[in-house]
Amino acid sequence: MDIQTLFFAVVAAVAILSGILVITCRNPINSALSLVMTFFCLATFYVMLDAPFMAAIQVIVYAGAIMVLIIFVIMLLNVRVESGKKYTHGVLIGSIMAVLLLFEAFYFLNRSSLTGARGMIDANVVQNVGHVELIGRAMYTDFLLPFEITSILLLVAIIGAVILAKKKI
């Protein structure tokens, strides 16, 4: 096992552990902070996949801005440690389904080739040209229309924030 695989294994383990903590923690703030950890691990994965710009966005937008929002919501709702009531219904069916899905995933991974189409842009191209530039090229030429639709999407979201959250409108 080379150093990169080892590093991946460590980060993956942390990602899964913190992911489990997100849903098992009784205190919502602890859950939220575990989510930050998960986001950081994801950012590390992006780095390992030669996508540093995605990693930066992941940290700035998700681990930064969106987590602030989540914590505000927790404070807004004033949720303390989750009350004693345990939500157990569906646990049995849920776990059976989860095991089945896991089995299916393993089955597929072992039985068939999972290679899709190979693109033009591999790790060498990314390192020579630069990730930001490649993203920019795709976004501002090929995906120009989706990019402009995004601005309308953001505009609608702005209206939504004001309409739903402002005290007096």
Binding site: L114, T115, R137, T141, D142, F143, I152, L155, V156, I159
Partner: protein, 484 residues
């Protein structure tokens, strides 16, 4: 330093969307300067915007416009759907004004939001790139989440907005994951490119990634069209949302979901037809049966129409399973007629309600025929059309859908469809029994038909009857439209 080639921009391909979104932004800016009692002007302005957009849509019929490196294609298919969307939003705006004044949620943002939602629907219909379709769907969905919770002082409306948002975001994940897997397997997000890749790499085509991608996309779209078992959100959201918005949601976004669903599956994944038809067969049967059986037990008319809209999505899926020219043209025709009959029915539901008392129970319609015979008659026409009784549009639409299924050899599916539609007669007829055979409990004195409502109901009745009496012309248009 090399310059980057400028992509081929073809503004003609996004003209209807551009008009609507520009008008939406102008209205948003006007809105902040308008006093509350003058918000109705925004409605008239948005109707002008819709008319201009409709002009560009009608004008472009027959001349497909492609633009933005294949991100969008304004062909007859999208033109047909654009007409449905524009019609739906125009009728919604006509009936919304009185409702928001009555319920004291007269915020001018309503109109821009409806226009933006329509823009999103149009991008879903004309998008030929998974990215365009996804972003169109997001613009639509986020606008709808806001609209569902628009009556801020009404707890039910808040609940509807929150539930719709949570479940909608969850289902969007499925769709997005499906799209990502499809992209991973084929290396392109262009719909035509996906089809080409699958046709050229037949060994790779049974790639499990692609199959899982297809399955997840089917789940995501099924949620948007409210097909069982992904329909759980529908009754609560339809009941809680402001009634004009419920009318809007039940017709427009459902049609938009079908538009994207049809284009992705018919154009990009025809090689998997055997797989997805068997999947959709099961969905269609489940959706029809579940929708109709549950609708029978409803006392609240909005909930009843919510379950009935689930059932109608099931009928439309029958045409999808058939996947032949008759069946798919039948879907387009059916969605057009459903827009007329459902918006008409909801217009009358709004009229029967009064401030703080939505009067949504079926028993509240007792004796409506005595006090307001014309309204009761109009409601009966819409209900007959929803049942599928000739000579209404609903009958012709179902006829095309089921004959499409028979043509493709799905005899059993057609039989289940007909049985379901027979069962649906019960709950629609129940409303009519209350309207015509019970003594009035109330005097319906508050009930006032404003010109806007008059126009809406007349348009809806005209649509239902014209489509029902002379369907050939419209079916011909639908058949031209589905040649994608």
């Amino acid at each position: 330093m090399e310059t980057i080639a400028i992509p081929a921009v073809n503004l003609a391909a996004i003209m209807p969307e551009t008009v609507l979104s520009v008008v939406g932004m102008i209205l948003l800016l006007i809105n902040v300067f308008l006093p509350t009692e003058k918000k109705a002007y925004l409605g008239y302005l948005s109707l002008i915007g819709i008319a201009v957009s409709l002009f560009y849509t009608m004008n472009g019929w027959g001349t497909p416009q492609e633009g933005f490196n294949g991100s969008v294609l304004l062909d007859n298919f999208s033109h047909f759907f654009n007409v449905i969307f524009l019609l739906c939003s125009a009728l919604t705006i006509l009936i919304a004004d009185q409702y928001v004044q009555r319920e004291e949620c007269n915020h001018g943002e309503l109109y821009p939001l409806i226009l933006f939602a329509t823009t999103g629907m149009m991008f879903m219909a004309s998008g030929t790139d998974l990215m365009t379709i996804f972003l169109g769907l997001e613009v639509l969905s986020i606008a709808l989440y806001i609209l569902a919770g628009f009556a801020r002082n009404n707890v039910k409306s808040n609940e509807a907005g929150l539930k719709y948002f949570l479940l909608g975001a969850f289902s969007t994940c499925f769709l997005l994951y499906g799209m990502a897997l499809t992209y991973g397997a084929t290396g392109t997000t262009k719909i035509a490119g996906i089809a080409q890749f699958i046709a050229q790499n037949s060994i790779l085509s049974k790639n499990p990634i692609l199959l899982v991608g297809m399955l997840l996309m089917a789940v995501g779209f099924s949620f948007k069209i409210a097909a069982a078992p992904f329909h759980m959100w529908t009754p609560d959201v339809y009941e809680g949302a402001p009634t004009p918005i419920t009318a809007f949601m039940s017709a427009g976004p459902k049609a938009a979901g079908f538009a994207a669903f049809l284009r992705v599956f018919l154009v990009a994944l025809p090689m998997f037809k055997a797989e997805w038809t068997s999947l959709l067969w099961a969905l269609a049967v489940l959706t029809m049966t579940f929708g109709n059986i549950t609708a029978i037990y409803q006392n609240n008319i909005k909930r009843m129409l919510a379950y009935s809209s689930i059932a109608h999505a099931g009928y439309a899926l029958v045409g999808f399973v058939a996947a032949n020219e008759v069946g798919v043209a039948g879907i387009l025709f059916y969605l057009l007629s459903y827009t007329f009959m459902n918006l008409g029915a909801f217009a009358i539901i709004i009229l029967v309600g009064k401030k703080g008392e939505p009067n949504n129970n079926v028993s509240d319609y007792a004796g409506l025929s005595v006090k307001h015979p014309a309204l009761a008659l109009a409601m009966s026409v819409f209900l007959f059309s929803l049942m599928g009784i000739p000579p209404t549009a609903g009958f012709v639409g179902k006829f095309y859908l089921f004959s499409g299924a028979i043509k493709s050899g799905y005899i059993w599916l057609a039989i289940i469809g007909v049985l379901n539609s027979a069962a649906s007669v019960y709950y629609y007829l129940r409303v009519m029994v209350f309207m015509y055979m019970k003594a009035p409990e109330e005097d319906f004195a508050w009930l006032k038909v404003t010109p806007a409502f008059f126009v809406t109901v007349v348009i809806a009745i005209a649509g239902v009857l014209v489509l029902g009496v002379a369907p050939q012309y419209f079916l011909k248009l639908a058949q031209i439209a589905v040649m994608i």
